[in-house]
Point group: C2
Chain length 156, copies 2
DNA sequence: GACGCGGTACTCGGATAACCGATGTCCGAGTGTCGCCGG
DNA sequence: CCGGCGACACTCGGACATCGGTTATCCGAGTACCGCGTC
């Protein structure tokens, strides 16, 4: 099991945009250069965030991406689901009903699937409890300022 | 993010072996046929469980796999880790230290990575809390008997 | 009749292909800005 | 001097290659059982 690398990129981009809250949008090129990741593929990830309603994009000169709502209202789970999709990691194929179990009556859901689902819910709850604002608060101000300077934005 | 299909197979195989606890081992062919999955690939998964110390294999006629310890001592997490590997789903690449953050001093661990790690720990805790014996207890006896009959084992 | 031995059938185990999704790249559509031209 | 217009540069957005990993398969090594020959 491996989470897409785009999740890390998306989270860091959202963190950067949270620092610049309310200012002019940031284009893909700037974000990609600041993390040294391929711009075209990062753009693909940011598109997914737009479709999920987390970011707002604007075209043309001076365009780019900005947060669609305040950082307090964006949870880590929102970002992860936007990139990875809503489907659970464990997908019960109901192999218990094949072969030996064929024709049997299974009124209850598979106990194994239920346990896995329960674990995933715990994982989601933990991610949903953390908002982007919490991450901002936990990050030293020096990192904020360095990124602002690097993007050519004047300090507050 | 998608969990390997082998996890479901491995869990169901362990569940079957838990029903037959203390009896003769079951070969890959029987297990594969009972779930209608490719035998050769299932064997690969069972090998991983052997390496993890969950199953014990025996070669030759009448050989096969059996549990290495009592079902109470086997957690779902043990099985999942045996198949998926011990590495976490989210792997922090420290992209914050590249580009804009290059040369900076980051004494603390990345807040994003910490949050993701925390969520994964919650997931693992939930899986570790469920043992194979719990799954056995939650499964109707009819399924036990149907599988025993299908494998050609006399009822208890 | 009992023991030892060789052959056979069956099983695990690891090395080897095929397929699929994530990763990476490219080009077109759309938009805001700037400069130029006419009034 | 001021307003309108055209061209341009920049940005997003989706369509098209490439690569790694999971999925699937095969064949060799090892082992227990069975039958035969010998003592």
């Amino acid at each position: 099991m491996r989470m897409s690398e785009g999740v890390e990129w998306a989270l860091h981009c959202c963190l950067t945009l949270a620092w610049l809250e309310g200012e002019a949008p940031v284009p893909t090129n700037k974000l990609a250069a600041s993390f040294e990741v391929p711009a075209a593929y990062l753009n693909k990830c940011l598109q997914a965030l737009v479709r999920a309603g987390i970011l707002i994009s604007s075209a043309g000169i001076g365009g780019g991406f900005r947060l669609a709502r305040r950082p307090e209202k964006i949870s880590l789970l929102d970002v992860v689901v936007a990139i990875e999709g809503p489907e659970p990691a464990f997908r019960c194929m109901e192999i218990r009903q094949r072969g030996a179990g064929a024709g049997g009556t299974f009124r209850r859901t598979c106990s194994i699937a239920a346990a896995m689902r329960r674990a995933e819910r715990a994982w989601q709850s933990e991610l949903a409890a953390q908002s982007l604002a919490d991450i901002v608060a936990a990050t030293p101000a020096a990192a904020h300022n360095r990124m602002r300077c690097w993007l050519g934005r004047p300090g507050k």
